[in-house]
């Protein structure tokens, strides 16, 4: 599907962003390029849709040289999602989604049909959201539309550059799950860039770890966890070493202590503005430190559409699953899986909100744990081999 053959990019000024990259990506794969900031991920991605041209080497798409293809056609056949969302602010949600189909000259009715189909696919009612403007959506909804826009013309290949990087952890996780589901359903080839190893592990069929413009390791998520190619990879998959064993951990050790909240007497307009600003899809409603419930973006729209003045207290829904700070992590994890929710809230005996635990926080813990046991094993092996290295 996509093949990099000895591709290098040297920017004016001499920065070697990509250094002799060789990579073949098969059709239907979900490949994640991961690595620290500045390692050349974005540059590699943009060379595929030719927003950046390589200095040397050749990129093939469907066995054709990318530089021999018409650049406009090429881009219309590749979905592209970026971190800043890049929705056109003056166009409605529907018009944004229909952009590429329109550029490709689809008839109007077909565009409209496609827009409705896509919105329904992510559970957004076309009648409610189609005519909204991007500025009227929460951060998570905006990026959903960003993803739908990339899918609209049904391209085989989709490029995503840190699409969820600016979202809060909870919304990010929700979108990751949705994306994974979409990919399994639609069988697209996705090349996804991130600097977040947890995200890579969650999404990828195959992870390509980059450093200084070249590939350090290219393997499945399991492969990378079990056999990190070198110290760089090892430290990259478990940055913050967590000495405690998983069994001993309590909720308070891993919870996110700064969830986005709002007071019940605030207006709905303010609630939406806060969701947009913080790029979340729901807020925890808190009065004097005590958790009252949650408010979700989709509960606001009926009111906002009717221009009704209402306060958060009127739309709040029940508190999702709650645990205490000293609840064992395993119990919280079981609740997360059991209730099929993506967060549990942490409250103390007085009902005060202390934090939230998300699926992402669990993945982080498990990874760190795996890594520490991994290094112990490796040390033994190394010692046995007389420290001769790998």
């Amino acid at each position: 599907m996509v093949k990099f053959e000895q591709v290098s990019k040297v920017f004016a000024g001499g920065t070697v962003a990509v250094d002799n990259l060789n990579l073949t990506i098969e059709k239907g794969q979900f490949v994640v390029l991961v690595g620290p900031s500045g390692c050349g991920k974005t540059t590699s991605l943009k060379m595929i849709n030719r927003l950046i041209e390589p200095t040397s080497g050749e990129i093939y798409i469907h066995d054709q040289k990318a530089r021999s293809l018409n650049v406009v056609e090429l881009r219309r056949n590749i979905g592209y999602v970026i971190q800043t969302v890049g929705l056109l602010p003056h166009l409605t949600v529907a018009a944004n989604i229909a952009l590429v189909p329109q550029l490709k000259g689809w008839p109007r009715a077909k565009c409209q049909e496609r827009v409705e189909e896509l919105l329904q696919m992510v559970g957004m009612d076309p009648a409610v959201y189609g005519d909204r403007y991007p500025a009227q959506l929460s951060g998570g909804q905006q990026q959903r539309i960003g993803v739908l826009r990339a899918l609209a013309a049904d391209p085989e290949l989709i490029l995503m550059d840190e699409p969820f990087g600016a979202l809060d952890p909870i919304t990010r996780e929700q979108l990751q799950l949705e994306l994974k589901r979409l990919q399994e359903q639609l069988k697209k080839t996705i090349i996804f860039v991130t600097h977040d190893m947890n995200e890579a592990l969650m999404l990828a069929d195959r992870i390509v770890i980059m450093k200084n413009g070249s590939v350090v390791q290219d393997a499945t998520p399991e492969g990378i966890l079990r056999h990190p190619a070198n110290d760089f990879v090892a430290s990259f998959i478990g940055r913050s070493a967590q000495p405690q064993a998983v069994e001993e951990l309590e909720v308070k050790d891993v919870m996110n202590t700064a969830p986005v909240t709002i007071e019940p007497e605030r207006g709905l307009g303010e609630a939406l503005a806060r969701m947009q600003q913080q790029r979340v899809d729901s807020l925890l409603v808190v009065k004097d430190g005590v958790l009252k419930g949650t408010v979700r973006a989709r509960d606001l729209y009926p009111y906002l559409l009717r221009n009704e003045i209402a306060s958060v207290s009127e739309v709040l829904s029940l508190v999702p699953v709650a645990v205490k700070p000293d609840t064992p992590l395993s119990v919280a994890a079981a609740k997360l899986m059991d209730k099929n929710t993506n967060l549990v809230v942490v409250v103390d005996d007085h009902g005060e909100l202390k934090g939230v635990v998300t699926r992402a926080s669990l993945v982080g813990v498990l990874l760190e744990n795996q890594k520490s046991s991994q290094t112990t094993v490796e040390n033994h092996v190394l010692k046995a081999a007389g420290g001769a290295g790998k």
Binding site: N49, L51, V72, E73, L74, R75, R76, N77, Y80, I82, T84, G86, L87, L88, P89, H90, L91, T92, L99, V100, L103, Y133, P134, A135, Q136, R149, A273, Q276
Partner: protein, 228 residues
């Protein structure tokens, strides 16, 4: 000036308005149509494309903006007078040309900054989706630059309404005639007959065009700007 004298002057002015209303209306419409709409309209037609081109070619940017700045620094009266010896004679013609040149810079500069101000991420997203450069311009950059361009047109119009009063100095028409005549004859009320409608028109134009600016701004863009 004593208060009595002011009242007398105002009274004479009102009488003059009453007795010469058709002549004054003619002067006002000449002022608006010939000395403002024509030069500003022509300036829009020329300055918007130049502003766009300046965002594409840096050489053109330097030439066009430099020239615009030079024109803007020439004193308005000097610019008006300049075209008399250059073969345009006296009357409205040199005035229109001078007012046209004078309007170019604000519109050109705002077109340029409006387009340059569109966020690079949005431009790249548009390119990445497969828009041709023309589609990027017409579907993304220009719609997003509309408020800024309109602000330039408003500035140019307000300046033109004021500057047009000077065209009477080179034999042109409009409200400036009353001012010039008033100065020559030392009749204060005649100065006011020209100056007051001109001032009112400038205020009205500023108000009206700022409303138009808001109206022409796409709704989604307005919401977006409010949020930032």
């Amino acid at each position: 000036m004593s208060q009595v004298k002011i009242l007398v002057t105002l009274n004479k002015m009102v009488e003059y308005f009453a007795g010469n209303s058709s002549e004054i209306w003619a002067a006002i419409s000449e002022h608006i149509l010939l000395l403002v709409l024509v030069p500003v309209g022509l300036a829009v037609l020329v300055a918007v494309p130049l502003g766009i081109l300046a965002t594409r070619y840096s050489l053109l940017e330097r030439i066009v903006m430099g020239l615009g700045n030079v024109i803007q620094t020439i004193p308005s009266l000097a610019l008006l007078a300049l075209f008399i010896p250059l073969g345009l004679g006296i009357g409205n013609k040199p005035a229109i040309v001078a007012l046209f040149l004078y309007s170019l810079l604000p519109i050109m500069r705002n077109t340029y900054t409006g387009i340059k101000g569109v966020s690079p991420e949005l431009k790249e997203a548009a390119a990445g989706m497969g828009m041709t450069p023309m589609q990027q311009l017409f579907k993304v950059e220009l719609p997003l630059a509309v408020p800024v361009i309109m602000a330039g047109v408003r500035t140019a119009t307000v300046i033109a309404i004021g500057t047009a009063t000077l065209s009477a100095m080179v034999g042109g028409g409009g409200l400036g005639r009353y001012i010039v005549r008033g100065l020559q004859l030392m009749r204060d009320y005649l100065i006011l007959v020209g100056a007051i409608p001109a001032a009112v028109m400038a205020l009205l134009a500023d108000y009206g065009l700022s409303n138009l600016e808001r109206w022409a701004t796409p709704e989604g863009l307005r919401l977006y700007n409010e949020q930032r």
